[in-house]
């Protein structure tokens, strides 16, 4: 009897193994689909070329950034859904050390730009006709540039709000209470909203 039960248990374990394998296959297919559609939360490094080590003001960015120890500049566009999501998370809650550059898309004023609503105007720059982005060689939004010791250091795509905060944390510019405020706004299963 015990032997029969053990055999049955072994067969069940084998079936479980096969089912888990099928589920792993599904998750891998999902990962592949996400990669093809670009909906994967992984930043891609952007080559800044000769801009590395240069002062931000050389490229039309605020001069105050030339004397900052470390900061992050995030480039957003009004036409980009992820940019709007990031701008929505930053609205009224811009962490210290962050400057937002908005691609005006040809507009000569902020009127009608959804992305700028709620952003700190002192730390928001409107990039008319993409002049700043063109000089930096940026062709994708959202993108983030890290400034270290007042010089442009590195750049990467910013596929989500979470990745933006990861960049900010990496330069230790974010305050703990700002992070908690961000976590409260993020809806996760099992966590009360």
């Amino acid at each position: 009897m015990i032997a029969f039960l053990l055999v049955a248990l072994a067969i069940l374990a084998v079936l479980l193994f096969l089912l888990l394998g099928a589920e792993i296959e599904m998750f891998r297919s999902l990962e592949q689909l996400r990669e093809y559609s670009g909906a994967i939360d992984r930043p891609t490094r952007i080559d800044l070329g000769d801009a590395v080590g240069e002062k931000p003001s050389h490229y039309g960015l605020p001069e105050a950034l030339d004397s900052t120890g470390s900061a992050v500049i995030v480039f957003l566009s009004d036409k980009c859904a992820t940019c709007r999501t990031i701008a929505g998370a930053l609205a009224g809650n811009m962490p210290p050390g962050l400057t937002v550059v908005v691609d005006s898309g040809g507009a000569d004023s902020t009127r009608g730009l959804v992305v700028t609503r709620g952003l700190d105007p002192a730390r928001t720059v409107i990039d008319l006709d993409r002049q700043i982005m063109s000089r930096l060689g940026l062709t994708v939004t959202p993108a983030g540039i890290v400034i270290e010791n007042g010089r442009l250091a590195r750049a990467a795509t910013v596929p989500s709000t979470r990745q933006l905060y990861t960049i900010l944390e990496s330069i230790q510019a974010i305050q703990v209470d700002d992070r908690q405020s961000y976590n409260e706004n993020l809806i996760e299963p099992g966590v009360k909203s």
Binding site: A3, L6, A10, T85
Partner: protein
């Protein structure tokens, strides 16, 4: 020495059962590997079922009859087959995808199979020297232990993939507001 030999046998059993089950689960990939190795078309189906069956049977036999000689001979025979596949893979004009564990590993047949061939023989040395032996009920328990262990290892991989998928899903919160018509329906339902 006896525990070492016993542990090696159980690990070999786990590896063979895993490989056999995965080949069954990813039959198409395994058949294409066999075809790339030059197996004639009439033999493809037979070998596609026969080889994974032999692996599973060998794995189970190693646990059920550890002191018997033929499971060990079967292990070494399979190892020689893997080594031969590695040699054929090196000689092939184009890399042949290894389907040893289904489509888990993204490597080609070649030096890995040839390099692990001596390890299979070396692993058999403590087994032959120590001659592990256990009762039938113990062998059943060991078989359950092996199958549950490989399922647990699988479950750990699944947990990691699920975590990544959940993180990606939450990172891309939709920024589209609900259409006005739905908002009116919700308000009317209060």
């Amino acid at each position: 020495m006896a525990p070492v030999g016993a542990s090696i046998l159980l690990i070999i059993a786990g590896v063979l059962i895993w490989a056999g089950l995965e080949k069954f689960r990813t039959q198409r990939e395994f058949t294409s590997t066999l075809s790339a190795l030059g197996v004639p078309a009439p033999l493809l189906r037979a070998l596609g079922i026969g080889l994974p069956s032999a692996e599973i049977l060998t794995g189970v036999s190693v646990v059920v009859g550890p002191s018997a000689a033929w499971p060990r001979i079967a292990v070494l025979s399979l190892a020689l087959c893997f080594g031969a596949a590695g040699v054929l893979g090196l000689r092939a004009e184009e890399p042949i995808k290894c389907s040893c564990f289904g489509n888990e590993a993204h490597r080609s047949l070649g030096w890995f199979q040839i390099g692990t061939l001596p390890l299979w023989f070396l692993a058999m040395v403590p087994v032959v020297v120590s001659r592990p032996h256990w009762q039938f009920l113990d062998s059943m328990r060991n078989l359950v232990g092996v199958t549950l262990t490989i399922s647990l290892i699988r479950a750990l991989s699944l947990t990691r993939l699920r975590r990544v998928a959940t993180s990606d899903r939450h990172a891309f919160k939709p920024s589209i507001e609900p259409m006005p018509i739905f908002a009116r329906v919700l308000e009317g339902g209060k």
